[in-house]
Amino acid sequence: MTKETQWPLWEVFLQKKFGVPFEHAGNVHAPDKEMALQNARDVYSRRNEATCIWVVPSEAIASSSPEDAGSFFDPANDKIYRHPNFYKTPGASFE
């Protein structure tokens, strides 16, 4: 299983119904974007799970690394004024 025998990897995002955010579902191998879409449809949406699918080359995704979690995310935790809780923030993990 050397790298050259594998097609590129694509990350798959599904939109469950119109208007809601896309969610990461997993990934597929495919030679190009049309085949990636079809593979994503067959692997992740064969039972009507999605109304729309995005596929993105995995290598196009920039990710923060877990070691940076402290400097990336901690500073927000102890400043209560950054957490307005009197109105709903879409997608926020706190109430």
């Binding site: 085949m35 593979n39 449809r41 067959d42």
Partner: protein, 255 residues
């Protein structure tokens, strides 16, 4: 008397459509666990399940039309080879992946235009079944045609394998459009599909995809026909032996 003949024709017509889906579905099922990549394994068996679903609905309806109380299972598992009416192309062996894809493209394209025509049938059961099936088949065409383009214009080896697939399969494409008296009578009655129209649409699509795939369309080939009289190639008997063995060894077995 007229009515009996009409029902016999309609029964036969349903079997042709149902058996083609059933046999092709069974063939694709043979890939389960064997396809070149996981994603394609799932894709081929998805298509197989679509086809078996079509066959079930059509066989159930065929049983009603026949009026002898036969169920979809009776028709699928307890008919012999000569009673099957599937197109010869559907029963051809999987061969390599290229041959499976070529068979799929040629048949799915046929089914797409056939079912599109059938949505206008005056038989409301058939038109409803066609309405549902045409959406599934549209995806089968998309999947197989994208593969034909890529394999045909891919590497020298993939191109050669697609050429071999065309050589293996093209002789069975004349059977798709070999309309008989039953086709003529049901088409005149507004129930069946005019196969001469399907043929034109099929040829256009095949020419278009073959051109993109850099595959030549064969000319002046001798066609092997006979599905409408149940005259099959040697491959169908083996397929049925496998498909029917469990139901015949354990009649009425449940899942």
């Amino acid at each position: 008397m007229m009515d009996t003949n009409h029902n016999k024709n309609l029964f036969d017509y349903c079997l042709r459509i149902a058996d083609t889906s059933l046999v092709l579905g069974q063939r694709l099922g043979e890939w389960c666990g064997h396809a070149p990549i996981l994603e394609e394994d799932i894709a081929l068996t998805n298509i197989s399940l679509d086809l078996i679903g079509q066959a079930r609905m059509l066989l159930e309806y065929a049983g009603q039309v026949e009026g002898k109380g036969r169920t979809e299972d009776d028709l699928a598992y307890f008919r012999g080879e000569r009673e099957f009416r599937n197109l010869l192309l559907a029963e051809q062996p999987n061969g390599d992946f290229g041959q499976t894809i070529m068979r799929q493209f040629l048949l799915s394209t046929y089914q797409y235009y056939f079912f599109t025509g059938l949505t206008k049938s005056s038989d409301t059961t058939l038109s409803a079944l066609a309405e549902k099936s045409v959406k599934e088949v549209a995806y089968h065409v998309r999947h197989s045609s994208e593969w034909v383009k890529r394999l045909g214009s891919g590497t020298p080896e993939s191109h050669q394998r697609m050429m071999n697939a065309v050589d293996e399969l093209w002789m069975y494409t004349g059977d798709l459009f070999d309309a008989d008296q039953t086709d003529a009578e049901l088409t005149a009655a507004g129930i069946g599909v005019d196969l001469s129209q399907v043929k034109l649409q099929w040829e256009n699509k095949v020419n278009e995809i073959f051109a993109e795939a850099t595959l030549p369309v064969p000319q002046n080939i001798y066609f092997i026909k006979g599905s409408r009289e149940g005259k099959h190639t040697e491959h169908l008997g083996h397929l049925l032996a496998e498909m029917q063995s469990l139901a015949r060894a354990f009649p009425g077995a449940g899942w």
